[in-house]
Amino acid sequence: MSAPTNAVVQEQSGFVVELEQFSGPLDLLLHLITEDELDITDLPIARIADQFLAVINELRLNQAADYLEMAARLLRIKAQLLLPRRLGEDEWEDPRAELVRRLLEYQQIRELVDWLGHAAARRAEQFGRGFRPEPPEAPPAPLVIELNDLLAAAERVIALIPEPVLHRVVPRPLDVEGATARIETVLATRERCGWLDVVGDHPTIVDVLSAFIALLELAKRGVLRLSQEGPFSPIVIERESPREAA
C-alpha cells in the first residue's frame, strides 16, 4: 500500500483506534524501533516505554484499551528488568522475550502486507468484464447437500455443547475477601487501574467472579468508583477520594 495517508478509520464503536499511521500498538512500537534504528532482539525497554507513553498521550490514544495494555506491558517488563538477578541464575528468562517474539512476528506480517498491497495494486491495473448480462429466467443453481456434511456439522454442534450436561454444584466458594485485598493493594499505590490489574494474568472464572463482586462491594462502600466509556469498553477503577500521600 502507498504511504499511510488514509483517513482516520473508525474500526470500533466510538473509538478511533486506527490513526493514519498506526494499525495498532505493535505497529506503533515497530515504528519507534525502526525510527531509532534499534535492535529488536536487544530492546532498550526503558527508552521505548517512555517514547511509547509519550506518543500515545500525544495522539490521544491513551483511551484505547489495546494501547493501554501495551503500555502496561512495557512498564511491567521495565520493572522486571530492574529486579536484581541472583548470580548463577542460569534459568533467568529475559522478560523481553515474549514481546520480541511478537514484534518479529508482527514485522513479518507487515512485510506480507506490503507484498499483498503491491499485488492488489497491480491487479487493479486490469479490469474484468463490466457487462453482466441479466441472468435468464433460469432456475437457481442446484443446491448440493451431502448427508455426510450434514452429519459432520451435527457432530461439530454436539462438540459445542458444554461437557457436563447435568448441573453439578462445585464446592468452590468465591474468594471475595482475597479479591478485595488484592484490589486494595493495587489502589494503595495507584490512583486508578484497569480490570486486568485486579484479576491478574490468567484469571479463572472464580477469580473473575470474585473480583467482580469485590469491586461492586467496594464501590457500594464508597471506596472506589467504577466507570466505563461506553458499552463493552474497558472498566476503569478509580480510588474514590484521593488519599493523603501514602
Binding site: 474484468g128 442446484p142 448440493v144 447437500i145 452429519l151 456439522a153 461439530r156 454442534v157 448441573h167
Partner: protein, 182 residues
C-alpha cells in the same frame, strides 16, 4: 490492431453498458470522432474476420461486445450449471440443529451454536430448506422452525426417520424430552 482500436476495445470490454462514440472520445479527445469511428469499425471487422465467439455490435446508440447468438443456448445452460452451490459450515450446523431438534426456536439455536444465527436461518428460509412450522409457548410466542420437504428431497431421504440416528447425540440435540433441570 491500431493503438486507438486496442484502447477502445479495452474500454468496451470493461464497461458495464454500451458506450457512445461521444463517451469513447473522452478516452483520447485529440483523436477525433472520425478516428474513433474508424477504430470501432476496425475492431468489428477484426472480430468478424478472425472468427470469434464474440462480436462488436452497435446497439442503443452505442457499441457493445456481445457473445454470438449461436452460443446463447450453451451459455444459458451453463449459467446455472456453473456453480452448484454448497452450504457454508455455519448453515450446515444450523440446519443440523433444526433437523434434529425441530420444532425449534431461534434462541435455542443461538444457544447451542454460541453465536447469533438469525442471518443463517434467514438464508435457510430463503432457500426453502426450513420453514416456520408453529409458534412456541412462552414470552412472545417465538417462531419455531422445522425442515421442509425440499430438505428431504435434496438429501434424497423419504422422511425424517431416515435421518441417521446418532447414538452419541448428546442431550441438547435430542428432542427436548424430560432432561433434568439445569
Amino acid at each position: 490492431m491500431s493503438p486507438l482500436a486496442k484502447l477502445l476495445e479495452a474500454a468496451l470490454f470493461a464497461s458495464s453498458r454500451p458506450l457512445t462514440v461521444g463517451e469513447l472520445l473522452t478516452l483520447e479527445p485529440e483523436a477525433g470522432e472520425t478516428a474513433v469511428r474508424a477504430g470501432l469499425a476496425e475492431i468489428r471487422d477484426a472480430y468478424a474476420a478472425q472468427d470469434h465467439g464474440v462480436e462488436l455490435v452497435e446497439i442503443a446508440q452505442g457499441w457493445q461486445f456481445l457473445t454470438r447468438r449461436e452460443y446463447a443456448e450453451a451459455l444459458d445452460r451453463a449459467q446455472f450449471a456453473l456453480r452448484p452451490r454448497r452450504l457454508s459450515p455455519a448453515a450446515l450446523e444450523t440446519l443440523a440443529i433444526i433437523a434434529y431438534r425441530q420444532p425449534v426456536g431461534r434462541v435455542e439455536v443461538d444457544e447451542i451454536r454460541g453465536v447469533d444465527s438469525g442471518a443463517v436461518i434467514d438464508k435457510l428460509l430463503e432457500r426453502g430448506l426450513v420453514d416456520v412450522v408453529t409458534r412456541g409457548e412462552g414470552l412472545g410466542r417465538p417462531l419455531l422452525y422445522g425442515t421442509t420437504p425440499q430438505f428431504l428431497e435434496i438429501l434424497g431421504l423419504k422422511d425424517l426417520d431416515e435421518l441417521p440416528r446418532l447414538e452419541e447425540l448428546s442431550v441438547a440435540l435430542r428432542p427436548p424430552a424430560p432432561t433434568e433441570p439445569e
